[in-house]
Symmetry: C2
Subunit: 331 residues, 2 copies
């Protein structure tokens, strides 16, 4: 469980925002001006040596397919249905380069567990390759120029997704989250701004840090992640010691329902899988932790439709979700 601190950190992500000097910002685009000839071909050419990639043009993409990219955190919800939007995604699904989201280029690397340094390294490689092909808007004084001034400078955001049942159940999560702004970071739900926290999962990322360098942002967010890992582990130990039979009962019931239910809603699943994940961490349950983590993505609505190969109504999704969950958690 300590491999890249996966018991606490679900995933680590770094993204860069970049723009091209010769093009108006995406929200000013009125035609297909230069999109293909400059942006898309440039990105394609730059990434080709880095491995296998696939390009999706958003305006030609089926809604389910687009949603499933959002659910896998490969694109932002804002890109869905966008007229000039596109995305290049690596075969390993670690690298994704959104085209014409808020900025011309939003490149991100996402890896499982706690490895911001690794994600950063791989992203820098892609960024250098793109910089060699495209004329990035960069100012000696302000750094990378971005559509929104708060992103100017490094144009970088580092974030990680944490699983905090220990802090949440011990009642200390609220005060911990309240101290985050002091450290220049902010907490959100799993699916970005405005989405509520589900299943004790939080996305922590740096706030706007105009003028801060890449290393500074990375160092700051890494430090916060490390303190979350320490605090959460301590809280779990305490919880296991004091929670006694009530906590174990709650965990085992959640496991019993997830491994037997014939239909389950997304909300109930998220609540129960959180307890099951905690149970795996506390060694009450001998299920595969990685499989439990994967379920959070695999049971999202569009992913379920993709798995079934057809549109599913709400009840069909609940039934398909239950089947997938049961299979993944079976002893």
């Amino acid at each position: 469980m300590t491999d890249r601190s996966k018991d606490v950190v679900f995933s680590s992500r770094v993204r860069f925002a970049r723009n091209i000097t010769s093009l108006p910002f995406p929200d000013k685009l009125t035609g297909e001006e230069g999109i293909y000839s400059v942006l898309m071909r440039g990105v394609e050419k730059a990434l080709a040596p880095l491995g296998e990639f696939r390009m999706y043009r958003m305006n030609g993409l089926d809604h389910t397919e687009a949603q499933s990219l959002v659910e896998r955190h490969l694109i932002s919800p804002a890109l869905v249905g966008s007229r000039y939007g596109a995305v290049m995604i690596s075969a390993l699904q670690d690298l994704s380069v959104m085209i014409n989201e808020e900025d011309h280029i939003r490149a991100q690397c996402i890896v499982s567990g706690f490895d911001l340094a690794g994600a950063f390294k791989r992203l820098v490689e892609a960024d250098k390759a793109m910089a060699a092909q495209l004329d990035f808007a960069f100012d000696e004084k302000y750094g990378y120029l971005t559509a929104c001034p708060t992103n100017m400078g490094a144009g970088m955001r580092a974030s990680f997704m944490v699983f905090l049942p220990g802090l949440a159940l011990s009642g200390s999560l609220g005060s911990v989250l309240n101290t985050l702004p002091k450290f220049g970071v902010t907490a959100r739900g799993v699916y970005g701004e405005g989405s509520g926290a589900q299943g004790f999962m939080y996305q922590i990322s740096n706030q706007a840090m105009i003028g801060a360098g890449e290393e500074e942002i990375l160092g700051r967010v890494t430090k916060v992640a490390e303190s979350f890992i320490r605090a959460e582990r301590a809280a779990r130990e305490e919880l296991a010691r004091r929670g006694g039979v009530d906590l174990k009962d709650k965990i085992m019931r959640a496991y019993g329902v997830l491994t037997n239910a014939c239909k389950i809603s997304s909300e109930e699943f998220m609540e129960l899988i959180a307890y099951v994940k905690l149970g795996i961490c506390l060694e009450y349950i001998a299920a595969d932790a990685d499989k439990a983590d994967e379920l959070i993505t695999l049971t999202q609505p569009a992913m379920l439709c993709k798995a079934a190969g057809k549109k599913l109504n709400a009840e069909e999704r609940d039934i398909t979700r239950a089947r997938i969950v049961q299979k993944a958690l079976a002893r």
Copy 2:
């Protein structure tokens, strides 16, 4: 499942009320007058040839032990702590003879499944043996004389315990129960008069039938049982056909909780085991039906204390109950 219709009828019971001419009715007893010399020795002597029996004197009996007899339906709650009460119980726990309950003698035979005729036959055997030893109060015109006039005549009650999830869940149970008085029978909860129905279980017995003979009572109750068996099976078939995934989901969740919970209250257990028993009947669950039935007795409070060999508080009982249930239902 059709062996003695155990899928619907949990148990069958027949009891006789008898009194001794030479003794005042139990509620008039003021001393130990004749209890041992006449009643107890007479009963002991009569039953000895019928197999192994054990005598419990209520005033010397530990409360947990006494309650565990109530929970196994071997004595009535009224006998617990009674000063002149006693009970003789066969080693097989099918025959029990209460002494100085409402009447001098309340003899019953209880068997699992639907077998009123078998229970009656074994009870008659015991009754004859006792009649040969004791001077039963019998009147040519009124039949057996009893403390309460409603029992006069045959002094007999025939009853059976039914499991009616099909009728209950299809919404037709209420109207079925309402017609019972017309057939001279009445429905109560599992633990007799005043106890609520738990887990779709009902005890059906003949109402007072002054002047009716043994065969008539037996015939009438048997007929009611047979119609319950037919109606309940039809309701279950219909339920399985129409209930679809919602019913199966409810059943499988109940199974999931019962096989994983670390503590469980009596009320929740009764609700969930009913669904699990239904699931076994509908072949959704491959657990042992007899074991599921036994659990209803084994998880009663005093039975749990007996199993643990010590007094248990409410939480300890809930934990012990969960452990016993989990073991019995494990695949």
